[in-house]
């Protein structure tokens, strides 16, 4: 009985039937960046391990991270962080019941996109400036 009820239940249209909008795109990006950050956490955890083992492993880790491939991974990781941070604040605001107007949702959405690129840029300018201090 329950099975036949479930079988007769109307289904919602599949994902590809919908037009991608800023709201849906940012929503799925929040999950995507979350997964990237979970993967990235293995990287920085191993950085702590390398630091604990000694100078040789630390330098090997540093060599990998500063390799162009490592830098691309780190830039993607840091962008994911700043995106997840900004959009996370947007989510926390919704949890407080703030910002549900459709125009507000779109405006905060675009603010998140711009802020994430801006903050990633600031972080890496800071990073490259520090390279000069260390050397």
């Amino acid at each position: 009985m329950s099975q036949s009820l479930k079988e007769r239940r109307p289904l919602s249209p599949h994902l590809q039937a919908y037009k991608i909008q800023i709201t849906s795109l940012l929503s799925i990006l929040h999950r995507g960046t979350g997964i990237v950050l979970y993967g990235g956490s293995i990287l920085w955890a191993l950085w702590f391990v390398a630091l604990a083992i000694g100078p040789q492993s630390y330098e090997a880790m540093q060599h990998f991270l500063l390799h162009p491939l490592g830098l691309i991974i780190l830039m993607g990781w840091s962008f994911s962080f700043f995106y997840h941070l900004c959009n996370g604040i947007r989510h926390l605001m919704w949890d407080l019941g703030i910002g549900y107007e459709l125009t507000t949702v779109r405006r905060t959405g675009w603010t998140v996109v711009i802020a994430s690129f801006f903050l990633t840029g600031v972080a890496w300018v800071l990073g490259f400036l520090c390279e000069r201090i260390w050397s």
Binding site: R31, V49, A52
Partner: protein
Amino acid sequence: MNFETELHKAEGLGSAKNGLPHWIAQRITAVALIPLGVWFVSVFIILLTAPFTEAYTWLSSPWNVTLAIFFVLTAFYHGYLGMQVILEDYVPHEYTRWVLIIGTQLFSAGMALLAIVSILKVFLS
């Protein structure tokens, strides 16, 4: 008040298990990670090009070590909670889902411990 239908009660499926503590824990760790995350990501990018001794001295301050361990705990806890939701949403097979969720839980705890032990080793030496 119970809004469940008779059929739903009989099936014993659906929500009202342990979703609320999960939801609250996700929010608390999210709020903690706003300052902790900004702090760690900035420090990590700054120390990226630093020589070994500089990174080593950074972890000799009790303030930095406390913040670092606090960050490790909240980050892996928040990460685990998020991955659990994703697995619950996208893995339809029940036992596969359980294995993946328990695996993620143990892996997250293990990585957090590994990071904390490493931080303490540098701090205490």
